[in-house]
Structure formats: C-alpha cells, structure tokens
Symmetry: C2
Subunit: 418 residues, 2 copies
Amino acid sequence: MNLSVNGDRLLARLEELATIGAITGANGERGSARLALTDEDRAGRDLVVSWMNDLGLDVTVDVVGNVVAVMSGFGDLAPVMTGSHIDTVATGGRFDGNLGVLAGLEVIESVIEAGVQLTRPLAVAFFTDEEGARFAPDMLGSLVYVGGLAPEVAHDIRAIDGARLGDELERIGYLGGAPCPGAVPHAFVELHIEQGPVLEAEGYRLGAVTGVQGISWTRVDLVGQSNHAGTTPMAMRRDPSAAMMQIGALLAEIVAEVGDPQVGTIGKIDLHPNLVNVVPARASFTIDVRHTDESVLVDVEHRVRAGIERIAAAHGVEAHCESLARFEPVDFDERVVALIESSAASHGVPCRRLPSGAGHDAQMLARRCPTAMIFTPSVRGVSHNPAEMTDADDLVLGCQVLADVMLELTGHKGIGES
Amino acid sequence: MNLSVNGDRLLARLEELATIGAITGANGERGSARLALTDEDRAGRDLVVSWMNDLGLDVTVDVVGNVVAVMSGFGDLAPVMTGSHIDTVATGGRFDGNLGVLAGLEVIESVIEAGVQLTRPLAVAFFTDEEGARFAPDMLGSLVYVGGLAPEVAHDIRAIDGARLGDELERIGYLGGAPCPGAVPHAFVELHIEQGPVLEAEGYRLGAVTGVQGISWTRVDLVGQSNHAGTTPMAMRRDPSAAMMQIGALLAEIVAEVGDPQVGTIGKIDLHPNLVNVVPARASFTIDVRHTDESVLVDVEHRVRAGIERIAAAHGVEAHCESLARFEPVDFDERVVALIESSAASHGVPCRRLPSGAGHDAQMLARRCPTAMIFTPSVRGVSHNPAEMTDADDLVLGCQVLADVMLELTGHKGIGES
C-alpha cells in the first residue's frame, strides 16, 4: 500500500484547534488551556466533531463523553482504532494529545480521498479527561471505556473547582448515550509526542513504544521533635530533615544501581515549621519511582521502604508511608510495535524502541486489544508547557507511520484473536 | 558573705510579669507574647520600672530603650551588672529573659534588705529587642549598648509589621536620653534558662556558660531543569532535589566527624514547583552550622561549600550560596565562670560547664567587660513556647548563685582591669 497523508492539512488543523483556549508562554510561545469539560474543552470538541462529521463518519458519544468516529459501511466489523485526547493541562502545549486525534482524522481523510478499499473500518477517538488536571484520576475516559471504572462512579467525581463530572458532561452537551465499556477495537495504535528528551538527544525522529512504565508514588511523613538548632546537641535530636536527606541519598544509590530505565524522583518536600534555626518537627515528601518491569519495581519499593524504616529508627523519628498511586507496567503488543518499526524502515528513518514514562490512553486500550504507540520527538523534552515543540516534519512523519500501521492492521488477520 | 535571696518574691514577680500579654499553650500552659516595643512590651516595661523605682534605684533609659537601674550612692564607680530582656517571641514562655531581669532585681532587693556594705554598686538592666522577633537583628539593644550599632541606624530599622523602631520607642515612651554606647560595667553576669536539653538530660541543676557558639547560616539555591519525573532518564536530569539530598547527607557526615559541640541543621527547604511527578527546577534550603571554636567553624564552612560545589557540578545544577548570618564564637571570662562554679560548689550542687547554643545579651557585654552566664535547666529543652518550664527550685537556685557571683565580683579588684 502506498498512501501519503496530507501534512499541510494536519498542520492546519493543529493550528486551528490550538486557537481555542489559546495561551502564551514566557517567550511568546503559543499554547492552549482546555481543561476537561470546561467551555474551552466544549469548543475544541465541537470543532473536532464537525471535522468528523465532514468526513461522513459515524460519530458516537458515550456516557463519559468519549467520542468515537468510525468509517461507515462495515457493519459490525471491529475497527482499527487510533485516538488520544484533546483536553490539556492549564499550561498546555499544542501537540500533547491533539496530535494523535488530528493525525487519526488525517489518516481517515487520506484513505477516503484515495479510495482505498479496506477489509475493516478505521476509527478515531478522543477520550475524556486524559490529563486528570481537572478531575482525578488521569486517563479517566479511556479507563471507563475499557470497563476499569463504572460510569456512575465517574459521574460523581468532583473537579478541583468542585463541579461534578456528570453535571459538567451534561452542561457542555457531551453526556452521550453510548454505553461503557465500549466496543472492543480490532487493534489500537496511538501517535503522541514523547514528552521526554530521549529521541531528540539520541537523534531519532521516531519511537516505537514498547509499553508504559509502572508507577509507584509514596508519601513519606517523618515525625520527629522540633528543637532549637543551636542548643540541641546532635545526639539528642530526632531530626526528620536529616533522616530525609539520608533517605534521598539512598534512593539515588538504589536507582543508580538498578540502572536504566529505573527512575526515581523526590519532587515535593514540606518541612514544618520550615525555619532556618529550628530542627523541624516534621518532614513530608514524595517518592516517585518507575520501571517497565513489575518485579524490579516491587523490589525497588521494598528496598526503599526498608531503608526508610532503618534510617528513621536510627534518627528516632516515626515514619509513615502512604501509597498515593500505583500502576503496574503495561506491555504493548510486540506485533504492533514491529509494524511501527517496519513502517519506519520503509521510509528509511531509524526508529528507537523505548518505554513511555508518562501515562497514555493507549495503556487502557491495551487491556482489551493489541495496542502500541508511536512517539515523535519533543524538543528539549519540554511538555505541559506552551513551549512544547515538535518539528513539523516529524509531526507529518509520525502521521504517515500511523497511516501505514493502521492500514497494515486492517489486513492483519491473526491479530484480532490474540 | 552569706546572703539568701527571697525565692517566693522572685517567683511572684515572674508570675505577675507573665500576666502581661498572657497566652495559652496547646495543653493549657501559660506563656507570654510581648513583642518588642508593642503595647504589651510597654506594659511589661512599666511594671519592671515601677519595681526598680520601688527599690530606690537610679533608673536610666537610653536612646534605644535599654533600661539600666543602678544602686545609688556610689558616685562614678562602675557597677557589677546583671540583666537580660523582657521582650518575648510571639509564642513566648514565662522565663526566657524575664528570669534574668527579675533575678537581678531580687538580688539587689535582698542586698538592700540585708544591709550588705558593698565596695561598688550592683545594677540590673533589660535590653531592647533581644529576641529579634519584631525587629532584626536580635540582641539589638545590647548591640547598640556596647557600640556595635549606631543608635540612628537602629532607629531606622523597620519591624515585620512595617513600624520604624525609633517611632515605636517614642510611641511607647521609651526613647530615653542616655547615650549609647553606654557606661562600661565592672563585670556582667546573666542568669538565663538553658533553652536546650543538656542540663536536664545529664541531671544538672546548674550550668556555667563558657561562651556562645559561633553561628553560620547559609542559603543555598540550586538551579537545575524542571522535567517530567517519568519521561526523563536519570542521566539526562539536572535535578536540584537529588543534589540537595546528597549535600544533606554530606553535612551529616561532616558534623558527625567533627563531633560535639558541632551542630548542623537543614531547617528550611523550598522546592519549585514542588509536585510529586516533576523533577524540580529549583531547590532552596538553609544550612545552620555552629561551633564554639572559630577555626573549626571556618573549616566546616569550607568543607560544606566545597561539597556543595562538587555535588552541584556532578548533577549539572548551578549552586548559589549566600551567607544569611555569621557570628564568631564568644568566649566568656574564665574568672567569672570559675566564680559560678565556686558558688555552685558552696551549695553542694554539681555544675556543668557548657557553651550556649543560642545568642544572649551577655555575648554583647562580653566585648566590653568580664562576663559569663548562669544556666538553669529547661524541661525537655523546650523554649519559645508556652510549655517552656524550669522547676521553681532551680529558678531560685539560679538566682542564689547570681547573688553570690555578683557579690564576689564587687570585691574582685583585679577583674575590672582585664
């Protein structure tokens, strides 16, 4: 098959969608703020749905506002689906999510224009509240789509601004009638920006995503004794700050020992009372560790927990650990990953296999059907920021590979039965 | 000499002064809030001055509101002076500062009552804004008294609430006419609660304070690169939080290696943006190190600075260090310290030599005349808190030792020429 996507049309749609909820970055960069189920999200949805309708697709809206557009005329045949999200964080860029949705639209339009005869339909979807920036958890819409969360539970979730999700769906006109869990696709492939620095740093224009890292977030509360920083000899202290520093140094050691792709971050720290000359009474901090292999992640968690207990005891402070989030790693389908690599090779473009460090809708779909993702590079790894950037050539290349893989998947007879 | 102080009278005055600006602690403890030069401070001053006048002392108020009360009838003979402060922090206890002033008053009243014939006068003073809780720096009044800061500079200092120090002095009626630097005493001895846990923990009722630790406060700003905690491999990070943890662990190692009385504290930390899943862009934290030996303190500062530079470079983060405060250690007069020990021995009470980890007015007076301090224990080391507590017997014992030492100092012919 030799179908070329229309890069200019893709880029024009990205530009037009970005004008809705437009914001400006520190250096004049153009970004978007379309928090889930706000008026801006509604306007973005309306625009994309109008494009779906222009192509004569069967557009359905489900009970949590996920929108699925399928090529008509194929009866009940399960579609090869692509999709992503069009909600953004408050300081969003133009490409995160939007690229995957508009590239899917572009693939379908190119197929229709070229009159390609398919054995099964293509579909493009956008899922509600992928970012989780307004309603927790993130990837909410795709989670409900695959049956991981009941719609009525989702409806009762409150936004950071207090609004109820079900009410907001109704308010913006996206409380649809299609049931969840939704129909299972034949296969799913998502195009997304990397949101990390690896591809650019290593000179790749394409990534074949092998899975999503498992995530473990822990909040650690260390409770000691507030004391005068001058009058309290070291041996008489119960200093949670000193204990935390030692835990932080241990975490770095463990992460270094395990090596790539293990990552570990202490991103949030709150001392109390947080004064220069007072030994703190309390140190609260978070530990974020991620790995693609569940057994490694569990082992790292155990080592970190044991270290926390040992170090806390040595400092005479109490340690309380609470799991804030825990997701097992997701492995994508090797056959779909291989199709991405084949497409890249056919275009003479080197492609790097890598795991995703961030969560994506595709990891939810992977529970139900063969799934993988295509990454395009993020300049300097910047995302969730108006400065988010991917070169236009790379956007179009990613869309072309998406087209190749979707068309291959329509003919992939065995893949639906896995 | 065999003079006994009146313990009940001392305790009654402590109780009465504590009713001014009375506050209540978490468990019903009674404390005081008399921030410097507020209406509460004025009321406290007025009460103590009325007691000074009742004893027929010559009371002078100087240009920064320090109040000195000297026994009359000795012409120009330099007095043996005691004193402390009656301002408090916002969450003050009943004893911090107040004990030293009211014990001095008690010593003088006892001497007058007993008709002791002295060769030189006794004096008791309270100094303005020792706590520094309203006007920086702390020990402001005694600093001006010894000539360390010009009165007109002090007058222009602004409070945390914006008020000008000179205006506040005038407003509460304590902008006096006595010049600063003030008259040099023959000797100075200050009674104070320890504000630390050492005496109680080791079973001592008395401390002979050999000096004040040198203090070094540094603010460290580490600037790295904010990144996604999932998508950024460890090798591509410039993580100021990870660098800080390693610096904290190093500080603990250095402090442990130097050993007592070295102390080191990281009491204040601010990460930006302080989110669980974001590698911080910036970590700002403070390092408080103290030692009684200036050369050791300088060495520790150098080792910590070198460690910061090495660790920051290894993490690819920029490090900026700023000195927030730096005071050299103060050595008290060995002869005065020995007099405290002799008095303790005469009462059959073991007395521990120790440095002060906190700052006190006596360290300013030590620049001008032979000086030392007497410590009484602080239960659990708690201070700057309504729960601040010293047993009544220990308060009275401290006052008795103060009386003994002041009387000895009046006859100490050589000591004035040191």
